[in-house]
Symmetry: C2
Subunit: 245 residues, 2 copies
Amino acid sequence: MEKAHDVLIRNLGEHTGLAEEDMGEIRALTFMLRDFAPNEDFIRQGDEPEHSALVVSGMVARYHLLGSGRRQYLAFHLTGDLPDAQGLFIDQMDHGLSALGPASVAFIPHRELFIAFRRRPTFALAVWRETLRDAAIFREAITNNSARPMQTRMAHLFCELFYRARAAQLVRGNRCRMPISLTQLGETLGMAIATVNRTLADLRRSGAMDLRDGELVVLKWRELQRLGDFSPTYLHLKRQSPPHA
Amino acid sequence: MEKAHDVLIRNLGEHTGLAEEDMGEIRALTFMLRDFAPNEDFIRQGDEPEHSALVVSGMVARYHLLGSGRRQYLAFHLTGDLPDAQGLFIDQMDHGLSALGPASVAFIPHRELFIAFRRRPTFALAVWRETLRDAAIFREAITNNSARPMQTRMAHLFCELFYRARAAQLVRGNRCRMPISLTQLGETLGMAIATVNRTLADLRRSGAMDLRDGELVVLKWRELQRLGDFSPTYLHLKRQSPPHA
DNA sequence: CGCCTACTTGACTTACTTCAAAAACAGTGG
DNA sequence: CCACTGTTTTTGAAGTAAGTCAAGTAGGCG
């Protein structure tokens, strides 16, 4: 299946200029495709994976499990993302990965990746950059969850996801798939589920966005961006035109 | 000055086996040493640095500045850390760096690093790993600030800093330098300064630790670790004996 | 000594959590 | 097609932890 390789090339190309040779190297990689049901775990805290995952379709989440049993979501990943690239160099997983909605994920043997890195250092640098962008997103999440009021916090999350979805060409018109429950939203943003619901209701009432049937609809991008104190520089993507009004 | 190069070798050696050739390559790098006063900024949000910083002594902080003017600290760095390694591949800084107490920092030209990477790929991998460990620390901070109650949150931060200080051989007996104000603690943990003070008072009263005169004293490590729900696996350091009782 | 900053403490307020129950919805099997 | 079950969402009411505000103390420095 050619498409799986291309989503990776598209995503890395978002921040790194890839030569034809790099793309060839990527296309030669072995991809083992697997489909997952909503909320199915596929890498657990403590695992020592031998493969890197690539999101081919759907959404994938990374999360911590706490002593108290609470779950904390750390990041969400879209088509083209390598949600556990760090597994290449960090032996033991300090967090787990699961599918959010239904998702299909390609697994690439570390061994093959190392060989490809040796042959095409630019490819290695692209993946390195990818892990650095990841870290920038984590930093923003620290700030979001620590320093912003609830409404801003939630708006910011939706801004980020919508913006990234657009870059991944997953936005049609003004909407994209977003199969996330209120509980999960709470475990992402650090708020109680009742607050999640009320805050979301406020955002809907503002007319800037809606979240319904597992779909995010952005009605007034500029307004949502304002509400979320969102500025996309930290995503370090090639400039793209802002999402309409 | 030989010492500056050695702290980097020591730190990278904490997670990556370096060959003599790697060390030689590191020792050949140009280090421009600069001293900073407490709270002095040395890289700002928006900068496009041409050098990588290495903490030679003292503590260095990374922070976001928000639209509201609020400051959010993201991470603290100790002797041997490369607090802006990501600047090698991400052009524009999405956060700033400042000295916490008095600190001395070595600046290494990106150009030289790239050349060294080319010559000794293991060195590049060591730095890559370093950025990945960084990301693991960010992830933990998301969880800490989002999912843990105030007291646990604060205890966890001190556990992490003490543990890392020990790895960096900055702990003498049961204490290490920690030149951080209550305001900064609040801007790290996402709490109001009054709460910081009261929470810290609770921790002192527990007898597990103290913070005084810019020094962290750990009196009962196991107890502090319990209070902070702290488990050091996410730091991905070589196993070290736990800090005494 | 006096000024400035950092820390401490108290009283008040409020935003968020918790608890509880109802309503909407999705899936299953008759 | 509809009843039955379980899950997710919605709403309300009550309690509380943490924020805000304000004042006072202590420490560091010219």
